[in-house]
């Protein structure tokens, strides 16, 4: 019973939105529903934030190893939250200076802006930059060609990598611009690394990606139907009381 009503809600909403895709007067209902979702997600922060607080407080009160870091997380969290919600240090909107809170919350020189500019942004960018190291270690380990598939992966990756850098000009730029067999239309220079990279991207990568996307579309359709028809109802939780 606890699952029946949600299943009905889910099914009706889903099938109605599938139908409205074909009715011009209601075709916007899907976008409106998704904009409401953003509001729900904003309120859901109360649940997530509450959970974060609970986990960190538990660590501190149980004096688990590393509880000091939990305290640091909490302090950073509360400072940022207070400063952002109260718009500390934010000047009012130039057009309406008598309204003290009319400025943008991310206005330059506000405390929240400082946290964003000097903590949040550099840390995100640095985590992103770590990928340069990770991608090299992944390449180094994965391309120890153990089977045919890995060998293909390795060879193609090397060709594309070289083709995208100056090394391609240095290594294969000397391939002559003449036709191999009379008027066949293939030149020696077509096999230089740069052109080879382009050929690989256009003629081999694109069909692969297309087939993956076609498969994904059918997978999405099937998953959506299973959810709407109630065939897969695991996301709703259980029928019984725990």
């Amino acid at each position: 019973m606890k699952r029946t009503i949600p299943l009905l809600i889910s099914a009706i909403t889903g099938f109605v939105l599938i139908g409205t895709a074909f009715i011009p007067l209601f075709v916007d209902w899907g976008n409106i529903a998704m904009s409401w979702f953003n509001l729900l997600a904003a309120f859901a922060f109360i649940l997530g934030g509450g959970n974060l607080l609970k986990m960190q407080l538990q660590k501190i009160s149980a004096q688990q190893p590393g509880w000091g870091y939990a305290a640091v997380t909490l302090i950073a969290f509360f400072i940022t939250l207070f400063v952002g919600l109260a718009k500390v240090g934010v000047h009012p909107n130039v057009k309406f200076p008598e309204f003290a809170w009319s400025g943008d919350y991310l206005q330059e020189d506000g405390v929240f802006w400082w946290l964003f500019e000097y903590i949040f942004t550099p840390l995100s960018a640095t985590m992103f930059a770590l990928l340069a190291f990770y991608i090299s270690s992944a390449a180094f380990r994965a391309f120890r060609a153990k089977n045919t598939e890995a060998t293909i992966l390795l060879i193609i990756a090397v060709i594309i990598l070289l083709g995208r850098t100056y090394a391609s000009v240095w290594l294969t730029g000397w391939f002559p611009d003449e036709f191999i067999i009379g008027e066949s239309g293939i030149k020696y220079s077509d096999f230089n690394l740069q052109n080879l990279s382009e050929i690989i991207m256009e003629d081999f990568t694109t069909p692969g990606m297309r087939a993956i996307k076609i498969g994904i579309a059918l997978g999405v359709a099937s998953t959506s139907l299973k959810v709407l028809l109630g065939v897969d109802r695991s996301y709703l939780g259980s029928d019984q009381e725990a």
Partner: protein
């Protein structure tokens, strides 16, 4: 006296200059020629709120004239039925543009449109008005999507039919997928080593179908960890995903008969932000050293950070995602990867329920239709190009094969609708 002569000379010198330049200014400032062939069409398949306007560019609208003779066109409209209404400016497309869409129409109201070309010094051409009023009509069904509706019905219908067939007891065989067979082994290994299993349901919210698929896989994995009595940790990046995942895992533990093993603190929220989340998860991986890591959902650039850190702690990793850009990294760094459609099929495989397996057959049917249509289309286009080789393309009636291949591309696979 000298000053007066000087002034006279200046005037005599300047007068012809001024008059010549004045004449040339007057000569240059002519209004541009009006555009021609002005026509309007109701936009098909809409709610009666838009009308498309087309015209041939004014003959003065040349790309290489300097200074330009036509700067822009001015479109105005008035209600045709209303005697007192006047033409009101509704848009000003720039030069070299010959279409305009008026998206603020009311359905069922006849409108008259007028267009003028505007040149230098705001001189306008003669206005050109439509011969007869045009009405934007509301279409209840978007006929442009009629063939698409056929596809939707076919594919959804096949999934539903096969689910029904499977329910009625028909046996369905599916091929093996290595990554899914490995999940049980991975969980068993984790239990033996006394280490935990980590499940990451992607970093998107529950309004992404990949997250929903990831959660359904979580249900199956949670049943396995409940059976094996292994510890399962699910750090989430969204509050709603945490809520849904908790319900899912609780239900899984209940149905595995181990409700006491369920610990809701094992499913927790970290932060919404992509790199903050992954910094925390990788830190945890390095400290707690899980023996099995499952990445099932939508990922972006952080996919490689997760997978490489998992490798460095020696975990077995099974990944599944439908993000084509992240698949290469998972394939390179994880032990098993579910590629695209395999990821959506995973929950059906793991549950083993006949009706879920039936949905897989429905997906296969969709691929069959798509593949046959593709091959048929390619063959028709090939035959058409063989047939019309060497023939001058203009002024010929399109052959049967040419119109067939056009129909496939524009109507069946495009927005042409039934025609």
């Amino acid at each position: 006296m000298q000053y007066r002569i000087f002034k006279l000379a200046l005037i005599l010198l300047l007068l012809p200059l001024v008059s010549v330049s004045g004449l040339s200014v007057i000569r240059a400032a002519e209004p541009p020629a009006p555009p021609a062939d002005f026509r309007a069409e109701d936009v098909p398949g809409d709610a009666g709120t838009a009308i498309d306007l087309f015209w041939t560019l004014s003959p003065d609208d040349q790309p290489d004239l300097k200074p330009r003779k036509v700067l822009r066109y001015v479109i105005s409209r008035k209600e045709a039925d209303n005697e007192e209404s006047k033409f009101e400016n509704i848009g000003e497309p720039t030069y070299r543009v010959n279409t305009f869409r008026d998206s603020n129409c009311e359905a069922g109201t006849p409108y008259l449109y007028q267009i003028e070309a505007v040149g230098q010094e705001s001189l306008t051409s003669k206005p050109v008005v439509l011969n007869e009023p045009v009405i934007a009509s509301l279409q209840w069904f978007n006929l442009q999507r009629s063939w698409f509706a056929v596809f939707v019905v076919l594919i959804c219908g096949s999934v539903i039919v096969f689910i029904r067939l499977a329910r009625s007891g028909k046996k369905l065989k599916v091929r093996k997928i290595a990554g899914l067979e490995a999940i049980n082994d991975a969980v068993g290994r984790a239990t033996e080593m006394g280490r935990s299993c980590l499940f990451v349901p992607g970093i998107q919210d529950i309004n992404d179908i990949q997250t929903v698929a990831g959660i359904t896989i979580l249900a199956q994995v949670a049943e396995t960890t409940a059976d094996y009595r292994a510890q399962l940790e699910v750090p989430t990046s969204r509050s709603l995903v945490m809520t849904t995942a908790r319900d899912t895992v609780e239900a899984a533990y209940l149905s595995a008969g181990r409700p006491d093993e369920y610990n809701e603190d094992d499913i927790y929220y970290i932060t919404d932000e992509q790199f903050g989340y992954v910094a925390s998860v990788t830190g945890k991986m390095v400290r707690d050293k899980p023996a099995a890591c499952f990445y099932m959902g939508a990922f972006y650039a952080e996919s490689l950070i997760l997978a490489e850190t998992g490798n460095s702690v020696g975990a077995i990793q099974v990944a599944g995602t439908a993000m084509p850009t992240q698949l290469p990294f998972f394939v390179a760094a994880c032990d098993f990867t579910l590629i695209g459609e395999e990821f959506f099929a995973a929950s059906a495989y793991l549950s083993g329920e006949p009706q879920q397996l039936g949905s897989l057959k429905g997906q296969d049917f969709g691929k069959l239709i798509g593949g046959l249509l593709l091959i048929a289309g390619c063959l028709i286009m090939t035959l058409s190009s063989i047939q019309s080789r060497g023939v001058a393309p203009d002024n010929q009636e399109p052959t049967y094969l040419q119109s067939a291949s056009n129909y496939i591309i524009e109507n069946i696979l495009g927005k042409g609708g039934f025609k």
